[in-house]
Amino acid sequence: AQTVTQSQPEMSVQEAETVTLSCTYDTSESNYYLFWYKQPPSRQMILVIRQEAYKQQNATENRFSVNFQKAAKSFSLKISDSQLGDTAMYFCALVYGSEKLVFGKGTKLTVNP
């Protein structure tokens, strides 16, 4: 069974600053994908960033980057130059093959002006 744990229910950051959201996971598979999804009040899950487990290089997407530590089963998300529009729930998720996404409970991020 695969599990995803997000230990920070809520976080806040000042506009333009940097914040890191934590995620740990457990899986017995060796080849899997990890994701961070953003869910604003509109409820639509938006893919922020994706990491393939067999790639050692950390994924980056503009202001978003991850710190992927495979041995430690850790997958944190760093948001640089935080913007008010980054305010949302953030979910870490894992998938193996064609199976279902397994989500963490989420972190509510508030960006303050």
Partner: protein, 114 residues
Amino acid sequence: GAGVSQSPRYKVAKRGQDVALRCDPISGHVSLFWYQQALGQGPEFLTYFQNEAQLDKSGLPSDRFFAERPEGSVSTLKIQRTQQEDSAVYLCASSRGAMNTEAFFGQGTRLTVV
């Protein structure tokens, strides 16, 4: 359409009523997933289709829940005799291939059972 479309966006049902939730995936997407998201929680898997075949329904909480995708495109999630604990957001996601490496989500249907 360009994205995954779900309808209705909001549904209020009286306890005991049957409801049907619709999902229009991105055209040509092979895989379709349904998730249930309780308030303040992450989404939890309900069921998975590859084309018209329902390959996994292990997440359906009871036999009151039923899903279908008869022609391999539009899917319907039906809940019979709704109960208060069914109140949640129901999310649909689709992905291009059999490998679920990039899922696109709809905006969900918020179901409230009163």
